[in-house]
Symmetry: C2
Subunit: 411 residues, 2 copies
Amino acid sequence: MALVVMKFGGSSVADADKIKLVASKVVAKKNIGNKVIVVVSAPGNTTDDLLKMANKITSNPSAREMDMLLATGEMISISLLAMAIDSMNVKAISMTGSQAGILSDASYTCAKIKKVNPKKIKVWLSKNNIVIVAGFQALNSNGDITTLGRGGSDLTAVAIAAGLDADSCEIYSDVDGVHTTDPRLVKDARKLDYLSYDEMLEMAGSGAQVLQSRSIEVAKKFGVEIHARNTFSENQGTIITSEDKIRRNKMETLLISGIASDKNQVKFTLIDLPDIPGVAAKIFGRLAKIGINVDMIIQSAAINKKNDISFTVNKHEMKKTQIELDEIATELNVSEVLCDENIAKISIIGIGMKSNTGVAAKMFEILSKTGINIEMISTSEIKISCIIDEFDITKAVEELHKGFGLSKRSK
Amino acid sequence: MALVVMKFGGSSVADADKIKLVASKVVAKKNIGNKVIVVVSAPGNTTDDLLKMANKITSNPSAREMDMLLATGEMISISLLAMAIDSMNVKAISMTGSQAGILSDASYTCAKIKKVNPKKIKVWLSKNNIVIVAGFQALNSNGDITTLGRGGSDLTAVAIAAGLDADSCEIYSDVDGVHTTDPRLVKDARKLDYLSYDEMLEMAGSGAQVLQSRSIEVAKKFGVEIHARNTFSENQGTIITSEDKIRRNKMETLLISGIASDKNQVKFTLIDLPDIPGVAAKIFGRLAKIGINVDMIIQSAAINKKNDISFTVNKHEMKKTQIELDEIATELNVSEVLCDENIAKISIIGIGMKSNTGVAAKMFEILSKTGINIEMISTSEIKISCIIDEFDITKAVEELHKGFGLSKRSK
C-alpha cells in the first residue's frame, strides 16, 4: 500500500464544485489502494481578502496577529474538503498545521519548518482515514500559529512527504506542469516531462511561479520526488527529481529546459565608487541588514581608482533600497546613484549546459540578432541570466524559445 | 488593580470601524488601571456565511468538521482586534480557545466547558498585555476544536471570569441591557437596572435573546456578576446578580421584571390517551431519546379512562416530533394527533411573584379583558407562561406591559 501526498492550491478549492472535484480525485486515489494525505491552501482569494481586512485596521499589522488571521484560510479549506469526502461515505479528518505536528521556528509570516511530528497523522491513516492537513501554517515552540510565506503549502506537502517517507508527492495546480516557458507569454511553450531539482530551483528563482523555491530545496535534500500536475485533467504532469535519476533513466535531456522571465526587478547603479577593499562588502552588508534581497551584481573593472557597481532588487523593495543607498552614497562619496525600473531579467536554464560549451554565446547571438541590448549578465552552472529592456522581454522569450528548439513543433 | 472581562458580540466587530471602536473602549478600560481580558464573537454574519459554505458541500456536514470551520470566525475577530489595539501602541495578544486553555467535553457543535486553565492568560496579563480570547470555541481532550453552541461566547466570557476570579464581567451588545420586554415590540419598554440570575434565566428561556442561558447558569453557580451593556454608548446597562444581593441592597424591586414572548413554538395534542400509568413517561422518554426539548406540558383530567396531553416544542423540531409521535400514537392506540403552528408563548417573570399572591390572576384578567384566549398555562416560582394565538402576541405583550406598570411612563 503506497503512501501518497496530494497538495491542492487555492484555485483548486475556490468554490464548492471545485472542492467536490478535489474530493473525488482524492477518494479515487484512495480507492485504488493508497493511503492518502491531502494538503490544501486557502480557497481562491481568501488570503487576499484577509490581507485587505487587516489593511483596513492598520497599515502595519503585528506579524503574530497576521499569522493568526491568515491561518483561518486553510482551516476553511480543510474542513470543507473533509465534509465533501465524508459525504461520499469515505472517512476523512482535517488537521490544522498545529494538530498535524508541523513545527516551525519563531519567525512569523515566513517561518521555517523545523520538524514534522507525524504521530497524529499516522494514527488517523492507520484508522483508514484520508488525512487533510492545512498547508502554509505551523506551530512554534510558544504555541503560536506561524505561517510559511507565499507558496508555503508546497513546503508543507514536501515536508510531510519527507517526514512520513511518502512514496509520492503530487502538487496540483491549474496548469499541466512545468513548461519550457510561461505559456501565457509563448503559445507553443511545451510541458516538460522531467526536470531536475536544480533546474526547477533556478526556474523558480527566475520568475517561473510553479513551485515555491524552499519546497524544492527541501525536496532535493530529502529526495522527495515531486509530480507537478493539473487538478482539472488526468494528464501526466512534470516529475521533478534528481539529476542522477534523470541521467540514469536516460530521460529526455535538453540542452536548455526552460526560459524564465521576470519583470519584477529594478536596477541600481552606483557611479564612481572608490576602488578600495571593503566597499562592496559595506554596500551589500548594509542592504542585507535591512532585509533586502539583492539578485544580480556586476562590478566594472576599475579605471582611475574608481569603478561602478550595478545590481538588481525586487521592485517592491525599491523605495527601501533607494533610502539606504542615498545614505551609503553620502558616506562613500559616490557621485551618482541611478535607478532603472524599466528592465527585465531573462534566464535560460538547463543541466545540459554543464557539458556543452557555447550556450552563452548562442544566447547572446540570438538576442543580438533580435536587436536586443544586454545590460547585465550573470551565470551559474546551469543558468544564464541577462538584464534587458523591459520592453523587449516578450520578444526575447519567444526568440530564445525558438532558437533553443523548445517549441512544440521542434519536439 | 481590578481584573475586567469584556465580551463583544458579532455586531460589535462587524467591520473595521466597529473593531477600532471596540479597541478604543478596551484601551480606555485598561488606561484607568484595569487588567483586561476581551472575549469576542465572529464578525457580523461570518458564522452564517460559513454555514452557507458548508451547506453548499453537503446537507449533513460532520460535526467535528463544522466546528473546525466555524472556529475560524472568532480567529478573524481576535487577530483584527489585536492589530487595532497594537496600532494604538498598547500591547495586545490574541488567543484561540485552545491557546487560552478553554477545555471542553467531546460533544461537537454544543460542547460544554469542563475547565478553564488560565495559565497562559495570566502570563500575558502579567506582561501588561490586553488578552483577547476567541469566544465560542474550546479544545477537547483529543486535541480537536469544539464549539459551544449559539451564544457560546457569553459562556466563554463567564467561564473565564469565574476561572480567573475577575472583578467584573461586561457583556456588550447592540442594546442597552435587558428590557422589561422586547423594545422592538413595545416602544416604551424600559431598561432594567438589576435582574436576578433566576429572572434572567427564565427570560432567556422564554424568548428574550439577551444572554445565552448556560452562561447565566454558570454565572449563578460561580457568583459572576454580569453587566449587560451597549457597545455604542457609555450608559449603565443591566446588572445581573444574585437575588440576595438585590434584596440586601434594596435595589429596585418590581413585582414583575419582564415580559417575554416566543413565537418559535408549536403545540402538539394527543387525543384519547389510555389513562394508565407510564403513558406520559413513554411519550416524553421517547422524545427525549431523539433529542427533542419539550417545553410546556399539560395533561387534562381523565374522563372515561381516557385523557389528552398537550405539549409544545421548538418549531424547528416540529417534523422530527411529528414522525416520532405518529409511531407512538399507533402503539398506544391514540385516536388523533393534532399539531398547531399558530401559537405563541407569553411569559411574565419576576422574583416579586414569590411573595405576592394574585399575580397569575391579574395576568389572566388582563389577557381576558383584551379578548385573548389562553390555551395552556404553566407556572414556576418566578414565571407564569401562557400559550395563546400567535396573532394576539403583540397585543398581549403591550397590555401586560402596561397592566403590570412596566412602561417608561410608570417609572
